[in-house]
Symmetry: C2
């Protein structure tokens, strides 16, 4: 049976829905007495239910036609369709790091997927708790290199690329949300913006009055709107990743579309930098977080370096493959192959720093803040952490083309720590 | 009545078609005794008929499912649909310089449009004949500034932009043709390439072995494939423009899609540079073409400068309009507004030089050559003209970011003339 029109579910209605949905029913089994349903959505947008039955479990994510955090903000529930497309495509390319989709109902804007059972937690919470994830850089560089490489013109023919680009143009409303909250609002007076006031009042003002910063952000916004480089996740911050010590799982690609790769790589690295600068706010007498901060920096370095190595590895492996950007008959000599790869990766590195910095800035003076800082209760201490992150972000955004290696980025971070 | 399936027309079948097509019939009137039909297609792709009746006239253009010039090369006849979309959209934005569409039949891949009656001729032929068109720069800068500005994010909301981008992704086969013949084939050994042999053998080889050139072309190709900046004509060479001394009309936008603006501006300017270097081959005792060459250079300068001025004029006029790339609340100060405009136009200038140069190169060592050079019968003289153009193109492509004004480009052209 299918539901003929959309309705938002609650715990009770969800059970009724499962009863008539074979693909879900077959997972949890028929013993409904044992079934537990728990709404756990902590994100800004959607409702997420964990469903555990006697024979199995899954997560149900439902999009409603507005934002969960600001109910007066309408937002197409079609985002669930694009999230599903992206989960499936990225899952196909990197099954180790993407939860399996069991069920999708477009009418109900409802996704059934693997429940990432405990001890999986949201990476951001692990970073706040000071937990080291020794495999994180390895895993996330795997995910990013595969999903980005295989959906770019380095692997696609231009024929399949344009078809997919066209399909994901349908996710324009989510793109617009990013354009607004990441690439516009922080640089103007907006009712949605907030910051640790009064401490950061002049910092926020300085951002609104920084011509060089605004010039650079304009370039990034154009790139975000115009450049269909690969199927990006679109929201790859540390709140979209669930981890254990052994497992790394990327969830929540509802912002997915064909956009610039640097937006994803930057989201991840930018959020690690935020996590770094929040550590001083989490330090206490038992733990000064100094060792943990070093681990974060190492993870930033390894993420980029591994991503770089793996991405180039995929390129080399598939250089005679279907991709039409660099035809082997043209880029036939080793020296030339290396020259174009260096240029490509250097541009991608600068895009990464630019978008990463923009994502940092918006988390400090824009609408949606991050728990890394929000959980620092003393506002003056929080503001001090945030200001340092802001200074690094501004430098990275404005001077990104001067950076050649991730170590230089780490040096700048170190210069700005207390 | 409608034709239920595609069939290629000949003169006779076309008359039958007109008889059952009210929108065409009403133009030429019912007196078929007076009707003349003449196939005039001189392009590489399609059939074009001029139809003149007692009460009026029109042109019929029909796409066949292959290239006219290389019949073994299949090519979707859906291109007529995109040509019509572009003629209508560009015509709406700039009616003075785009022929009116009277009729479109998607099944038949057939367009009925205004007949650009004599003395209209193809601009390329006028350039070969040495005719000055005093309004050309004014007109074409009008066309380019309006069609490009109004279809970019400087005027579009991102919502409408992405919808249109998606639609024009359907014209992918024509994009692929450009990718191949403009941005790939000249840089590799290809059965389709030809050049004035043996004179240019080593020049063609040098292009295939020039790593810097190939690196730069890769960047342009990526931009062509990925960047949906505006609805571009896609084939704006001097063979796609019909002129009289008073009128300038842009035809043949079957390659239209959302791509980089510089591809159009570069096509026009690059083809003027080709025309310039062909002049020595057309010079004779009556006319050394020196004055004409100066006019071409003036037209190149005026085209860019007028385009620049008009484009900025449209931007200023609509800065509080629907466009979402540069929100007025962010780019609110005059100084900042000018800073972002300078950056935008400087990038566009460099794209223009890059694509323009690529279009020049492909006309000398690629598949489709231009009458400007082909009409020079002495091969050694032709090769000399072509080599100079090639040298300029290579310099522009490789060093384009060093150029700040169009006058500097003209200086390079002058340095390379005989
Ligand atoms: N597959 C899953 N397994 C376990 N928990 C999940 C799963 N998907 C989401 N969650 C939980 O629900 C929260 C919100 O999910 P998310 O997809 O990020 O929604 P939103 O789009 O609203 O941000 C996550 O932070 C996580 O705690
Ligand atoms: N509207 C028109 N009025 C007069 N002549 C035209 C018109 N359209 C095309 N032609 C003539 O037909 C030729 C081929 O048309 P074009 O649209 O360029 O076809 P193709 O796509 O095959 O290059 C032009 O070069 C021009 O001589
Ligand atoms: Mg989330
Ligand atoms: Mg989300
Ligand atoms: Mg033509
Ligand atoms: Mg051309
Ligand atoms: Mg044509």
């Amino acid at each position: 049976m299918e539901y003929s029109e959309f309705r938002p579910l609650d715990d009770k209605a969800l059970v009724d829905y499962i009863k008539v949905t074979p693909s879900l029913l077959s997972i949890v089994g028929n013993n409904f007495a044992d079934l537990t349903v728990k709404e756990v959505g902590d994100g800004n947008l959607n409702f997420v239910y964990i469903v555990v039955g006697s024979s199995g479990s899954f997560v149900i994510k439902q999009a409603l036609p507005y934002l969960r955090c600001i109910e007066t903000w309408p937002m197409t529930k079609e985002r669930a369709y694009f999230e599903t497309l992206a989960l499936k495509e990225h899952g196909r390319l990197c099954p180790e790091h993407v939860p399996q989709v069991y069920h999708f109902d477009r009418t109900m804007s409802l996704i059934g997927m693997r429940y990432l059972e405990p001890p999986h937690i949201i990476l951001r919470k692990g970073l706040i708790a000071g937990i080291e994830y020794p495999l994180l850089a390895e895993h996330i560089s795997d995910y990013m290199s595969k999903t980005l490489f295989y959906t770019s013109l380095l692997y696609h023919t231009t024929l399949e690329h344009k078809g997919l680009v066209a399909e994901f143009c349908g996710n324009v409303e989510l793109c617009r949300l990013t354009e607004q909250v990441v690439l516009s609002d922080p640089y103007k007076v907006s009712q949605f913006n907030r910051w640790t006031s009064p401490y950061l009042d002049s910092d926020a003002k300085a951002i609104r009055e920084d011509n060089t910063l605004k010039l650079e952000v304009a370039g990034l916004k154009s790139m975000f709107c115009e450049r269909a480089q690969a199927l990006i996740h679109g929201d790859l911050h540390t709140g979209s990743i669930m981890v254990t010590l052994e497992s790394t799982q990327v969830i929540d690609p509802e912002f997915a579309f064909y956009g610039p790769m640097g937006f994803d790589v930057g989201a991840f690295i930018g959020n690690l930098i935020l996590a770094f600068f929040a550590q001083n706010g989490h330090a206490n007498e038992q733990n000064d977080r100094q060792i943990y901060k070093k681990w974060i920096l190492r993870t930033i370095e390894e993420t980029w370096n591994l991503f770089h190595t793996k991405f180039i590895g995929l390129w080399d492996k598939h250089k005679d493959g279907p991709g039409e950007a660099y035809l082997p008959e043209i880029y036939n000599k080793l020296e030339l192959q290396q020259l174009v790869q260096r240029k490509y990766m250097s541009d991608l590195f600068h895009d990464t720093l630019g978008f990463g910095a923009a994502k940092m800035i918006r988390r400090i003076v824009g609408v949606a803040h991050v728990e890394d800082f929000e959980s620092i209760t003393d506002p003056s201490k929080r503001a001090d952490c945030e200001r340092r992150a802001l200074e690094v972000a501004k430098k990275l955004l404005k001077e990104r083309r001067k950076f050649q290696t991730i170590s230089e980025v780490v040096l700048v971070i170190l210069e700005h720590q207390a």
